[in-house]
Symmetry: C2
Subunit: 354 residues, 2 copies
């Protein structure tokens, strides 16, 4: 750090995103991207928007907001679009956490939560998941803190039912509960229908996974209009034109082509079930995944070593050097062909060890 | 604000961007956009990038950084690309301002600086411009604070020479001096060549004005590699994938087509000189503009009223309800045809008053 850097960030350790190699040689199963390209309509709309890049985008994102409101059956002022869901998550830490509203989240979850807390100088607490990596909701009942729960959770892939989340919402009426649904579209159930029942609920989602738009950076929050208004205050004090024209247009195209997204999700779920079965046959232990990835460990091979061997063989998966989960790898579900290659490669690696 | 909103933002008043009407009927001279579309190459590259939106963008922005480094004749690690220059400005407030490093900037300048200071809970001071709206550099000599200077300044359009800025840099070695060069390409002179001489200098620029990419959201900072490293720490703790693929690609295309940008700037400067002459003939008083806008007042008509009458006649300019400048309008330089329409419309409005 330079001698000019504010001392308040002295201990800040930034988030480390998954590897994004420039060369195309890898089968990329490390950052939970969709293996399918964006819908044709998304691409066409983006291309059209690129013609008038000289003009600013609509800071209010009116057209996209309206379409999303129709899709989710909520009001337009209950939505805020952001530059990826990382942005809305950071806004939530900014808006709803402080010394009087400590942040709390599981010890094993999206690694960015603790970074956001540190960035915003917010005191935070990490509640251990149970041994089987599920959340014990009793840990969150009436705790009077701002709660962040990724649901399904990452990298564990495990889903918590909205009925359980309701108990957390009802018992913390004076604090915002953020449900981060980045992976909700692969067989889990969304809490969006609860936003009119609980004015302390903020649901965040992303176009990066099920909607094949990781490269476009588009996320959003859904909540009561009062919460959205607060988040807009933060947005207009940070970056009013946070979403560029092409992404805004691609988002609209994607929403107009929901059938495409739904079909892709179906295929990914099929590929996941295939992968789970094959990995179980190879002796892997898996959590119960409701996402576009599996979380897998093998009793006979060190996870870090497996990650490195796969990388050697041009397959990228993600390994976290973190207590409790260092024996696992997180493997994104790609196309059927990619998963077959993965399975065969794992087979040969395990055979070599035998 | 909701009852959940952190009290730290109780007094935060967000930035108000210029109007972005959905209807196309207006001649838009209110947000300093370029009247020219992006270069063909920018568009082609963006279209190509849209094909693989399912994959995350390169968080390190390597290709674009390299091209920009070549263009500016600096090293790759002396550049950070951001989601518009608002993002790098906010990062600078975060990284280099705190209770020990008060922020300071002119009383009349980009309105976002005071918002960033408030957002980040940074104490700040506004130093009045002289009566002629120029900066008295003596006000900034040895003040031991983090200095933000838009150069050319907005909305005054006035340019301060790098030789003068050097005096500020040299006399504040323990504080970062941010030179915001959003409008530098319309006849002013950049401080980028000074970054290897002053390790406390951060220059910010944008693709929104001269490079016809306001809709793409692309800005950047140039500084010593130590300062860029600090800003990267903030970026990777905020939004590692801050720039989407299409924008990154469009930026590269634009840089490969510098001739196009240079020609557009020439045309805008010609249109500006035409507009200045015509407005002077109509009795307007103007500051000495080195930007793609003019800052104009007329002794015989109230500026707010003029703004409204122009809007009525489908021409949008920008009026700021702010002390010292409420008698002015800021008028973006558009195409020659647009400026002719503006001049003729002003003529008829003034004739009506006569």
């Amino acid at each position: 750090m330079s001698r000019y850097f504010s001392r308040k960030y002295e201990k800040l350790i930034p988030y480390t995103p998954g590897e994004q190699p420039e060369e195309k040689k890898y089968i990329k199963l490390n950052t939970n991207e969709s293996p399918f390209p964006p819908s044709d309509r998304a691409r066409e709309y983006a291309n059209e928007a690129a013609k008038s890049l000289n003009l600013y985008p609509d800071p209010e994102c009116r057209e996209l907001n309206k379409k999303m409101a129709d899709t989710l059956k909520v009001d337009e002022d209950q939505i805020l679009m952001t530059n990826g869901s990382d942005e809305i998550l950071n806004f939530a830490f900014m808006a709803f956490c402080d010394n009087d509203h400590k942040a709390v989240f599981p010890d094993i979850t999206y690694g960015f939560y603790s970074v956001f807390a540190q960035l915003n100088n917010v005191p935070y607490e990490q509640i251990p998941l149970k041994d089987d990596f599920t959340i014990d909701i009793n840990d969150y009942i009436g705790i009077n803190k701002t709660i962040f729960i990724a649901n399904p959770n990452a990298p564990t892939a495990i889903f918590l039912k909205p009925e359980e989340i309701e108990k957390i919402l009802a018992s913390n009426p004076d604090n915002v509960v953020v449900i981060d649904e980045a992976y909700v579209d692969f067989g889990a159930k969304s809490c969006v229908p609860l936003i009119n029942k609980y004015d302390n609920l903020l649901v965040t989602q992303t176009f990066s996974k099920s909607r094949s738009m990781a490269g476009a950076r588009l996320g959003f929050g859904v909540a009561s209009k009062e919460i959205i208004k607060d988040l807009n205050t933060v947005k207009y004090s940070t970056n009013p034109y946070n979403i560029n024209k092409m992404t805004m247009a691609a988002g609209l195209g994607t929403l107009e082509d929901e059938e495409y997204t739904i079909n892709n999700c179906k295929r990914i779920i099929e590929n996941r079930e295939y992968t789970k079965n094959e990995l179980l046959r190879l002796g892997f232990e898996l959590t119960d995944s409701s996402t576009n990835f599996v979380f897998a460990k093998h009793p006979k091979i060190d996870a870090k070593r497996l990650y490195l061997e796969l990388k050697e063989k041009e397959i990228l998966v993600r390994h976290f050097d973190k207590e409790r989960i260092s024996s696992y790898n997180r493997i994104t579900i790609g196309t059927h062909e990619e998963m077959e290659t993965l399975v065969n490669t794992l087979k040969s690696i395990l055979e070599e060890k035998a």
